[in-house]
């Protein structure tokens, strides 16, 4: 199976990445090169195998925890916004999305 230039354009859009034409070309060759080694995986019979997300689930039950729904963090708005590219009156600025 091989990816096409159209696939690259579609994924780049999904991933919100602007690629220059030469970058797209290189990406196509390299990703197709990688999928060459993925073929071996496709041949494995995995019938009845449960996918594993947390590795320690190999030996014990792992359930994702929920913590109590109580505020535990102090308000650090200024600190949290100190590395933001554009902030005004405590709000993150983005290009206009609603006319």
């Amino acid at each position: 199976m091989s990816l096409t230039p159209q696939d690259i354009a579609r994924i780049a859009n999904l991933a919100r990445l602007e690629l220059k034409p030469e970058e797209s070309e290189r990406m196509l060759t390299q990703i197709n090169g990688f999928f060459g080694i993925v073929e071996a995986m496709q041949a494995v019979d995995t019938t009845g195998i449960t996918p594993m997300a947390h590795p320690v689930a190999a030996i014990q039950d792992i359930t994702l925890r929920l913590r109590p729904d109580v505020a535990s963090e102090p308000n650090q708005r200024d600190l949290n916004q100190q590395s933001a590219p554009a902030v005004e009156r405590g709000l993150f600025l983005v290009p206009k999305v609603i006319e």
Partner: protein, 490 residues
């Protein structure tokens, strides 16, 4: 007294407690060494220093030593991989995306090591967002291998490994997703351990592949790694949803236990034709040492070793594409200057901020997660991942620890794999299986290969058996002096 930078963590901790040297003097010594390395034709290990903050931490250590409240590692300096967020130092993750970023908080691991008394010297170079095997993917320049400046230090914790090998710091933190502690430790001739997935908190460790990322220490000896690991581990229930509810241990307690009768599994798949002869010779030599120490070598099989490459390079990029969606030019980090609308701003920001390898992994990840491909790639990889983990459990019925090479070769020369990312992926073959299974693994200096480059022996333990690994590593280091060797000029 030995020169400060030739002392181990254990020796420094003792000298500081005995007040043979002050924490401030110690900090000054390592700051000066690191500054010299940053300005001359150095290793490129350090990305940021903050002498004022370091000396303030050291002064606080001296005060605690004076008033009798000194902690286990009081006043001992260390460097942090730049993937851990820190309040007092910039954090870049080796990416242009985070140029100038300052974190409002410290990562749990950073906090825990500071609570154990350690003093932060600075932040260490790494592959961008920890994606790479040679530290060639950092946006802030390469790191050279202290054993041969024409060679890579390994990656992604390349700055950490090079800084320890060049004795710029006695110890450093690293992170290991597919081998990023073990492989650079092997390439630079130092000792490093990745604990069981979930033992060290991931809070404040900039996420690459969340189901694989794990923090660990890198130092010259197993004893030093045990000291740091004891301070790093422990539950972080409210801040890391995958943190195991399990207390840390004193990993130094069993270092000197006898290893008489220890069964060491030798996976035949780790000794195939892809393994360089010089690496094999060093690894075989270390295994003979183990036999002299009373251990028994047991042949085992890890039949899906080769499959771990595609499985890892599907799962890790999938998780990366999701984790790195947060870099959008809104809340922190780089934002493009010119754009037409919001989506255009995202696209240009990410195009400018990310390097090639990161873009490739985001693309691969987005593809395997996309509609129509999820089952065939991502889910299939997660299923084979369980089979790989089960293979290890079968192997551990016959042995206590598993040993083999860390990497198929010694550190390669710069540029050798530059146009072929798959060549780097293939070189990760021996570290990926334990990563996918979430098992603890370490690299221990095992000798030298071609051109005098260091070779690491990989030890893999069963879940939560870090103490056993460190014990086995320490016993080897009592019998050999590979970990005491230093590069010419250091």
């Amino acid at each position: 007294m030995t020169t400060l930078h030739d002392m181990t963590v254990a020796e420094l901790a003792q000298a500081l407690k005995a007040r043979q040297v002050s924490a401030v003097e110690t900090a000054q010594h390592f700051i000066a060494r690191s500054q010299a390395d940053m300005t001359s034709a150095g290793t490129g290990s350090f990305l940021a220093l903050n002498p004022e903050a370091t000396l303030a931490q050291a002064a606080a250590s001296d005060a605690r030593i004076a008033n009798g409240t000194a902690q286990a590692l009081e006043g001992v300096p260390l460097g942090h991989k730049d993937i851990f967020v820190t309040r007092e130092f910039p954090t870049t993750a080796g990416s242009k995306m985070l140029d100038g970023y300052r974190s409002p908080f410290d990562a749990t691991v950073v906090h825990k090591l500071a609570s154990a008394g350690m003093v932060t010297v600075g932040k260490l170079n790494c592959d961008e967002f920890a994606m790479g095997s040679a530290n060639e993917n950092s946006a802030y320049g390469k790191v050279t291998n202290p054993w041969d400046a024409a060679r890579v230090p390994g990656g992604s914790s390349g700055g950490s490994a090079a800084a320890v090998a060049a004795r710029l710091v006695p110890a450093a933190t690293g992170t290991d997703t597919g081998g990023s502690i073990r492989q650079p430790a092997s390439f630079c001739g130092i000792t490093g351990i990745k604990p069981t997935y979930g033992r060290a908190s991931r809070y404040g460790m900039i996420a690459y592949a969340s189901s694989l990322d794990q923090a660990g220490p890198m130092a010259r000896s197993a004893e030093d790694c045990a000291l740091l690991l004891s301070a790093m581990c422990g539950a972080d229930i409210d801040r890391d949803s995958t943190s195991l509810d399990m207390p840390s241990e004193d990993f130094t307690a069993s270092l000197n236990n006898s290893i008489e009768g220890l069964r060491i599994g030798i996976p035949k798949e780790f000794f195939g034709e892809g393994l360089a002869a010089d690496v094999r010779a060093a690894v075989d030599g270390a295994l003979r040492e183990y036999e002299k120490l009373g251990a028994k070598l047991v042949p085992i099989s890890l039949p899906r070793t080769e499959l771990s490459i595609p499985v890892y390079y599907i799962i890790a990029p999938a998780e990366a594409s999701s984790n790195l969606s947060r870099f959008d030019g809104v809340k922190f980090g780089h934002r493009a200057k010119d754009y037409t609308d919001l989506v255009d701003m995202y696209k240009k920001t990410r195009a400018e901020g990310f390097g090639n390898e990161v873009k490739r992994r985001i693309m691969t990840g987005a593809y395997v997660l996309s509609h129509g491909y999820y089952d065939a790639y991502y889910l299939q990889a997660q299923k084979i991942r369980r089979m790989i983990a089960d293979d290890f459990q079968n192997a551990f019925k016959e042995c206590d620890v598993i040993a083999g090479p860390v990497a198929p070769s010694v550190a390669w020369k710069f540029g050798e794999n530059a146009n072929d990312p798959v060549a780097d992926y293939l070189a990760d073959i021996f570290t990926l299986p334990a990563s996918l299974a979430g098992l603890p693994g370490m690299s221990v200096p095992a000798g030298f290969g071609a051109q005098g480059m260091p070779v690491g022996l990989q030890l893999i333990g069963n879940y939560f058996k870090e103490a056993q690994l460190l014990n086995a590593a320490h016993r080897l280091q009592q019998a050999t002096d590979f970990h005491l060797q230093k590069p010419v000029g250091v």
